[in-house]
Symmetry: C2
Subunit: 361 residues, 2 copies
């Protein structure tokens, strides 16, 4: 087992990464009182709920099972968590346990941030995407029909428990989506990691346990450093949004749940790389390397064919980084060096959109 | 005009109190960018929306008008604010302006806390209750069918603007409800203020402008001191909940919107005083003084006759102060001295409930 630390003063917490952690006692020390509410979904419950409950023997634990999918990440489903908390008379000392992927983690975290104006929670991410990204850093929230993650809070967990064995039950599509976020860390600030990925990407898609464990550790380490430096995203943390402005537009346009978040981010990173090249920031050979790695990871490389230029612009203007009607984007100066910029060439953005929208895959 | 300060480090803010402040420029300096969303309701809009919009000339301001009433203080109505923010493409630099009573202030504040994980807001309270209590201190949130204010956040405003002229359009019932919270400050920690109220209560019910202005200032000052000492309610701030555990039970049981919050708190304070007496904390003569002042303020003195003993206990167990199945209450040792206690006599609590429930007014 590997333990990493997210260093946030009195809000610091450990990330435990390893095989079979769901059979250990690790989370018990992070529960401050007796009451626990496990929040999971109908895909994960049959697989890991029993194990999780066994870890909590002796606590007063209850469970709420939500429907699975990004299309349920909204205020209405969130309210099912509040229903459960109140029906079971859970008080301010309750600890929520998020057992599932990014959707479960984000919703459970926001429920914890808001229930009685703030209670504790623990993340048990069961997908690669949530293990390397969404479970770490305290961003929580739900979607609105008009924009992704528009409603939420910063709320840090007590600990993150990433059991790599849970990845064995993941669909290939879900695995690839997680790899997209792994590639992101290499691209935005860790060139040696990008190069490691170039040498090892097939091991990841083949679920080689050691390769996966290394990719998770390295990703969490990269993220933990960025979050510790800029918890509330006043600066550097925005770089973690590489590919996300394009990606969120894809997710919102196609209806939540149609595209996996990681798939949309993969295409978004390619669009960001293309725009970076057209704006004169990034070399053509770097763009080619990024495209090649994305293809080898079995990720999509073009947005849905129904999307239009206008739709992209309209949705990107709703991005949380947009200010005064200007779309701010995370762009690449080279592999391993990202910047946030509103200083790109607007014509180049139009060309990027045209170019990707003309690919009818 | 009087300016008070809530001292919370980098989250500090001023409270402006005075006549005709809605015709001045005060709030303009507290708006950080161009975008503003005014949130109000269908009772207040015809009275003060135009004046508020006039104050905001030159800003890119939009308005959303919600239905009036505590029964609409829920996630569904909250979503109307998010709808407006996203439809108008408001970004992270937006300032929300809450124009109305406590319900509008609480919902707007929570929308501001959650929109894009946190944007600025300004309070323009237009009821006595919101001017003396809910607009100050940063508690925001909505109700759940199973409990009041169960979903929310701590989120401080940029400033509070209390124009005492808005009280002229207030219904008598609403005025009395506000006076209940004013009495609360005297009871919980300011005996000289309680004595001032004993001498001046009829001036308040008759809307004497100077008496109202003094009561608002003094209440805000008392509250600002408590909030500065304990922003997140780890200790002393809980004393502001005097009468609220009983009161919330009344509000939840009778259906939100049937009883005004201040009315329920008035009865709750009498029940807390009664229990304090039965537990040997408070003298009979102090109880009599409190009952007398409440009656002179034209406030109710008994809970709804439909309520049962079991219902009270059940709802009070859901109170945010309850822990491990024990109801914690704010009780009085004397007028001007409140304590938080789970050390009262349980038989005495039963007697208090029996005694108040047998009064069929």
């Amino acid at each position: 087992m590997k333990t990493l630390h997210v260093d946030l003063g009195e809000r610091s917490y450990p990330i435990y990464i390893g095989r079979g952690l769901l059979s250990q006692d690790l989370i018990r020390n992070h529960i401050k009182n007796k009451q626990v509410l496990i929040v999971t979904n109908d895909t994960i419950a049959p697989l890991y709920l029993e194990k999780t409950q066994a870890m909590l023997t002796g606590f007063d634990h209850q469970t709420v099972i939500l429907p699975d999918g990004e299309q349920f990440k909204n205020l209405e489903t969130l309210n099912l968590i509040f229903d459960a908390l109140l029906t079971h008379k859970m008080d301010r000392s309750v600890t929520l346990v998020a057992l599932g992927g990014g959707v479960i983690g984000d919703m459970t975290g926001f429920a914890a941030a808001s229930y009685q104006r703030g209670v504790n929670f623990i993340q048990i991410p069961t997908t690669l995407l949530s293990q390397v990204d969404s479970s770490v850093g305290g961003k929580t929230g739900v979607n609105h029909a008009l924009g992704k993650n528009m409603i939420g809070a910063f709320h840090q967990p007590q600990c993150v428990l990433a059991d790599t064995e849970t990845l064995n039950t993941l669909e290939d599509k879900q695995l690839a989506a997680g790899i997209a976020e792994v590639i992101k860390y290499g691209l935005l600030g860790d060139k040696p990691f990008f190069e490691w990925l170039e040498s090892n990407i097939e091991k990841l898609t083949a679920r080689d346990a050691d390769a996966l464990a290394y990719a998770i550790e390295r990703s969490c380490q990269d993220k933990a450093e960025i979050v510790a430096a800029d918890e509330k995203e006043h600066g550097k943390r925005a770089l973690l949004n590489l590919g996300h402005t394009f990606g969120h537009a894809i997710e919102t346009a196609s209806g939540y749940g149609q595209w996996l978040h990681g798939e949309a981010v993969a295409v978004g990173m390619l669009m960001a790389a293309d725009l970076s090249f057209r704006s004169g920031f990034l070399s053509k050979s770097d763009v080619d390397k990024i495209v090649s790695l994305t293809e080898r990871a079995k990720l999509p490389t073009a947005p849905p064919k129904e999307m239009t230029h206008e739709q992209f612009i309209d949705l990107m203007l709703r991005d949380k980084k947009a200010l005064n009607g200007i779309i701010r984007l995370v762009l690449l100066q080279s592999i391993g060096q990202a910047i946030i910029s509103d200083n790109y060439d607007r014509t180049a953005l139009d060309q990027t959109l045209e170019s990707f929208l003309s690919v009818k895959d």
